[in-house]
């Protein structure tokens, strides 16, 4: 006996096997990302005032990546429709664009956004020393506005050797714009455009610092969550790109000649996965970049 319903639907359920398979898989994926997002909620609710940072990510780049992912979601559904209409040349084009979009997304993420974070520096000031750095932090102004305090000074680290050399007693930081003019109301909330650190150097005594690292997962729970969720999401994008490439190569053409409906089904299933990856990003983007 052969396994039935691999291509055609079972009459009483109306589904072919892979369709039910992928939806079950996606259900478990919902729970996987659900676990991570509930960790996000839990940790964010638990964070002390000022310890969940805002505006540290590059919003235009994030918006661009969102648009790229949405575009690829459109092209993959078009590729499937082309297969359904038995237009193989069109399918190849749309699928090619989808793969390209996926690759662009990954390159922007791993080649630009993440490395940009690795060179950014932040020093959490001890609560006893916050007063001392008031000229850089402007917390009295924030208090008057009813906004959470600033507890961290960020920018580019000028004296890198300070990270490892215990003899150096201070960090010299090329300050991010907000610390050059902390009481300006325009600086109260993050801006859309990313502005690199200024020329102005702020000196922070190591003795006053609670914790200072580059923007790595170790820096705070915000970056820990950011790197974990976007990393896992990136792995999903990579998996999608690999599957699409497999169907785009001669393997796909061969299957198309044998049974075009089977290829259409497989592309539909892979497409469902891809849409889900897009759907996750739709939540990741505002949660990490905007809020």
């Amino acid at each position: 006996m052969e396994i039935p319903y691999t291509v055609t639907a079972r009459p009483d359920t109306g589904l072919w096997n892979a369709k039910i398979g992928i939806w079950l898989f996606l259900a478990s994926e919902v729970m996987l990302f659900g676990g991570l997002f509930s960790a996000y909620i839990f940790l964010r609710l638990d964070a002390e005032p000022g310890y969940w940072p805002h505006g540290l990510l590059n919003v235009p780049v994030g918006t661009f990546n969102t648009a790229i992912l949405i575009a690829s979601s459109v092209t993959v559904v078009l590729a499937w429709a082309a297969l359904k209409m038995r237009q193989f040349a069109r399918y190849k084009i749309y699928m090619g664009i989808t793969i390209l979009c996926g690759v662009i997304f990954l390159v922007v993420k791993l080649g630009y956004e993440w490395p940009q974070k690795y060179v950014h520096f932040g020093a959490y000031i001890k609560s006893s020393a916050l007063e001392k750095y008031e000229p850089l932090l402007g917390n009295k102004h924030l208090l008057a506005e009813g906004l959470p305090p600033r507890v961290e000074i960020t920018g580019h680290l000028h004296n890198h050797e300070a990270l490892h050399d215990p003899k150096i007693k201070e960090y010299e930081i090329a300050l991010d714009p907000v610390y050059t003019d902390p009481t300006n109301p325009k600086m109260d909330r993050p801006h859309f455009l990313y502005v690199p650190p200024t020329e102005k150097i702020g000196v922070v005594q190591k003795a006053d610092v609670e914790r200072a690292t580059m923007f790595l997962p170790t820096h705070n729970t915000y970056f820990a969550t950011y790197f974990t969720i976007t990393g896992l999401h990136g792995l999903h994008v990579l998996a999608g790109v690999l599957v699409f490439t497999y169907f785009w190569l001669p393997v796909g053409s061969k299957l198309y000649r044998e049974n075009p409906e089977h290829l259409a089904n497989r592309v539909e299933v892979a497409g469902l996965f891809w849409h889900f990856v897009d759907l996750v990003w739709i939540f990741v983007f505002p949660l990490f970049y905007l809020l």
Partner: protein, 113 residues
Amino acid sequence: MNNPPDISPAQHETEQYAHDVSKHVRGYLIVGGTLIFCTALTVFLSYVNFGSQKANVSVAMLLAAFKAGLVAYIFMHLSAEKKLIYRVLLFTGIFVFALFWLTYLAWYDPISH
């Protein structure tokens, strides 16, 4: 929006069938455009002060839910899916909600807050 039928019923109906799918193609493009527009809107609204952080989060999450709904409903063909898949997703939805709500509830304690 309905799905095209899964299998072209017969050779002579292929033309009609292809026509049906091509109608959907325009719909997919419109949805894609809407999604990009909504993304821009989300970014814009996040810089508008709605009075409190909670309000801003709510606005952004509502928009995200709308976008996710469009993706699921149109691109993932949930507008015309089989009952069985709705059932699976219904239970998944309940459990993921339980996970969110109950971890939140565990954080909230009427005695200490």
